[in-house]
């Protein structure tokens, strides 16, 4: 059968159109990113998606850390980072999991997704055997974290954390300079000492800064700390508890009498800005805030603020806000090859080496309770006032309680909590009504 010129043109156009369509719908196949390895000259190479890249604050430490690993194992391994925005990072991991394209090393992800879906579905590699073979690593991880990450059958999927980064509070001594030893005060005495000083709060996004203060207030109530810890095993869905309502009553008073200007509707950045511009004397935050107080970031200061004037402390009763019963930052994909698993394990051993842990603590703050610090580390840490303050407060007697936002259903933490806070601040809600509103929301979110 002869092909006429017209048919040939039509066929060509149709074929081109079909090829374009095939390209559009992804028939091209090919490997996704973040998964597989290449072995060039015996070097195992992997790519891992991470949000700690580029302009992300975590990149300052993490990117050089990966480079140090690459240099140390130049003849064996190479890790390339794929930059993923933090906002969409957890969704990206879920998407990769659905496509069976998980990276060899997985940098966490949504906690509920890990515990309820990824691990039960067999997506993670059991590292319990490796941990037992490496006591130098296992001995550094937090006991609570190891217990939490160890399943009933002894398997361990998420690498338990070696560090804790407790949240306390920061104050600007140029605005508020208490003449008492704050560590000896009860919560009521601390609040009395604060008086009418302005406190930075945020209610927008998920009301993070408010949630930290509320967590401290709940933990200071009788039975409050245990009630919060109960959320580790099963999310809290009933807020009609005396400890919670009493804490909310105090929070409401603080929001109405002590909140810095623009606190209602403020994001975390707004709250931090209120502190860095001397509009608030106090803010609740974690050790990561120390970088904002460094002279190198003084461009963000205003109204005479000076980071050198800032001190930090854990909450009364030597209480720090941190969830030690939690998953770690890393886990390994079960689909990885043996070479890739070896790379992943060596990477974890590298990250959990004393030198790297100390470097991390100096860069981002926190404490490694089971690590014996080097003298050099102690000297370096003492140079950053707030890190030294928090480290001094973190002792064997320190009690840790999880942030309330981590103990309640995700939609309540990310949406309802911040949405209801303005009602509490402007007096539309009583503390009891606030508790009931959260209870209703949490119970609704817990339906199948």
């Amino acid at each position: 059968m002869s092909i006429t010129r017209r048919n040939f043109v039509k066929t060509s156009i149709a074929a081109a159109g079909t090829a374009v369509t095939a390209g559009l719908v992804g028939c091209g196949g090919g490997g996704g990113q973040g998964e597989g390895s290449q072995q060039a000259g015996g070097v195992v190479e992997i790519t891992i998606p991470s949000y700690k890249t580029g302009e992300n604050v975590g990149a300052v430490f993490f990117e050089p850390q990966v480079e140090r690993f690459n240099e140390k194992y130049a003849d064996k391994y190479h890790i390339t980072l794929e930059s993923v925005p933090q906002d969409g990072f957890n969704d990206r991991l879920k998407q990769l999991a659905q496509q069976n394209q998980l990276p060899v090393l997985v940098q966490g992800g949504d906690i509920d997704w890990q515990t309820d879906i990824a691990f039960p579905q067999g997506l993670a590699y059991d590292i319990s055997g490796w941990l037992n073979d490496h006591p130098e690593v296992k001995d550094l991880v937090l006991d609570d974290a190891l217990a939490y990450c160890t399943n009933d059958d002894g398997t361990v999927y998420s690498m338990p954390l070696p560090t804790v980064r407790p949240t306390g509070y920061y104050w600007n001594t140029a605005m508020w300079d208490p003449q008492v030893d704050l560590s000896t005060l009860s919560m009521d005495e601390l609040l009395a000492e604060i008086g009418d000083q302005k406190i930075a709060f945020s209610t927008a996004e998920n009301g993070w800064v408010c949630s930290l203060f509320l967590t401290a207030l709940v933990a200071a109530e009788e039975g409050g700390a245990d009630w919060l810890r109960g959320g580790v095993e099963e999310k809290i869905v009933d807020f009609n508890q005396p400890a919670f309502i009493s804490a909310v009553t105090t929070l409401q008073q603080l929001l109405q009498n002590n909140a810095a200007p623009n606190s209602v509707g403020a994001t975390y950045a707004d709250a931090e800005n209120a502190f860095l511009s001397s509009q608030a004397a106090i803010i609740s935050n974690g050790p990561w805030m120390s970088s904002s107080l460094d002279e190198a970031n003084s461009a963000n200061w205003s109204n005479g603020f000076d980071g050198a004037n800032v001190h930090a402390a854990l909450w009364p009763g030597q209480m720090g806000i941190a969830n030690t019963s939690s998953l770690g930052e890393w886990w390994i994909s079960a689909a990885a090859s043996d070479e890739e698993k070896q790379l992943a394990e060596d990477f974890l051993a590298f990250v959990y080496s004393p030198e790297e842990i100390e470097a991390f603590l100096l860069a981002e703050g926190g404490d490694a309770p089971k690590l014996t610090y080097s003298e050099n580390f102690k000297e370096e840490q003492a140079k950053t006032q707030t890190l030294a303050d928090l480290s001094a407060d973190t002792t064997a007697e320190t009690e840790f309680v999880p942030c309330i936002l981590d103990m309640i259903p995700a939609s309540v933490a990310n949406s309802d909590f911040g949405r209801e806070l303005p009602q509490l601040a402007n007096g539309t809600y009583t503390p009891e009504q606030f508790a009931q509103a959260l209870t209703d929301a949490a119970q609704e979110a817990s339906l199948a």
Binding site: G17, T18, I117, V264, G265, R419, T428
Partner: protein, 305 residues
């Protein structure tokens, strides 16, 4: 004698061999579009419908649960307020948003001095994303340093309102983030106005019509189709509206500015994909009903020209 129309009909019912030969090419050329449509539209929509009747966390196999998701949705705290808000925002979209856009189109159609510059300036907000507008409005409505309250305090020094965080202002504050940005409406209607044959206006003027009469009896009716299209676009945008709410009030205070889209995202956060898809189905059905009603109200399939 057979009429011309009958002759044409007869010809259409019996395609020539050349036409029959061309059909396979027509279908072949349609194939890429059909594949894309099935993969990216039809299949997901069918999946959303099917899984809305299941309990599903997005990863494990869905378990059939009948109408439970729909029952949960109707019984949820935010549903009635979300539907009420949708109704009110749709009315605002229809009468204020589209009305304002049509008004601007008619003003521009008169080609007053500087109308091209005015049209360009009116376009500017359209190149700014809804999310950016929401952030701008958060500053505009800020109680402490927002433009609005600062101006009001010149008259009432003690004035204080948290527009996005107090009832009933939050509803209106959210509405203001989109209500007067109607450039699409203006452009669509202006295009229709410019296509009205000059002879029609001339004839009307000869018959004594001028000014408002010309607009009411000639130009507005002839823009019916474009105004109907604008109403469809505006109301369906309200059904899908998410950024303007999520970045300002997140549905609050309480549930004052709740929307189905916010509820859907909250459902996904809690891994209630079946429930979230039930909300998606409700939004889809509302969209279809709105489409049908507006098509009928504006007689979109009829032409006056």
């Amino acid at each position: 004698m057979k009429s011309v129309a009958a002759s044409l009909r007869g010809r259409r019912s019996r395609p020539t061999s050349l036409e029959r030969n061309n059909y396979k090419w027509v279908y072949l050329f349609l194939l890429p579009t059909l594949i894309v449509f099935v993969m990216f539209y039809a299949a997901p929509i069918i999946q959303v419908f099917l899984t809305s009747f299941t309990t599903w966390n997005g990863f494990t196999d869905p378990v059939f649960s009948g109408l439970q998701n729909y029952v949960n949705l109707v019984n949820s705290r935010g549903f009635l307020l979300a539907m009420q808000n949708l109704l009110y925002w749709s009315l605002l979209a229809t009468f204020v948003h589209v009305g304002f856009g049509v008004l601007v189109a008619f003003v521009l159609f008169q080609k007053p001095h500087g109308w091209k510059l005015a049209r360009a300036v009116f376009m500017i907000p359209n190149v700014i994303s809804a999310a950016a507008w929401a952030m701008i409005y958060r500053f505009f409505f800020n109680n402490d340093f927002g433009v609005l309250n600062t101006v009001i305090r010149f008259v009432i020094p003690d004035f204080t309102v948290q527009w996005f965080y107090e009832s009933p202002w939050a509803f209106w504050a959210v509405a203001f983030t989109w209500m007067f940005y109607a450039v699409i409406v203006t452009l669509v209607v202006l295009g229709d106005l410019m296509n009205i044959p000059a002879e029609l206006a001339e004839a009307a003027r000869i018959d004594g019509a001028s000014g408002w009469r010309l607009i009411r009896d000639i130009q507005l009716p002839l823009c019916r189709s474009s105004i109907g299209t604008s109403v469809i676009v505006s109301v369906t945008a309200r059904i899908a509206m998410y950024e303007q709410i999520a970045l300002t009030t997140a549905g609050g205070p309480g549930n004052d500015t709740m929307s189905l889209s916010i509820m859907l995202v909250n459902g996904i956060m809690d891994y209630r994909y079946g429930y979230a898809n039930a909300i998606g189905v409700v939004m889809f059905v509302i969209g279809l009903v709105v489409l049908a009603l507006i098509n009928r109200a504006f007689r979109m399939d009829e032409s006056d020209l």
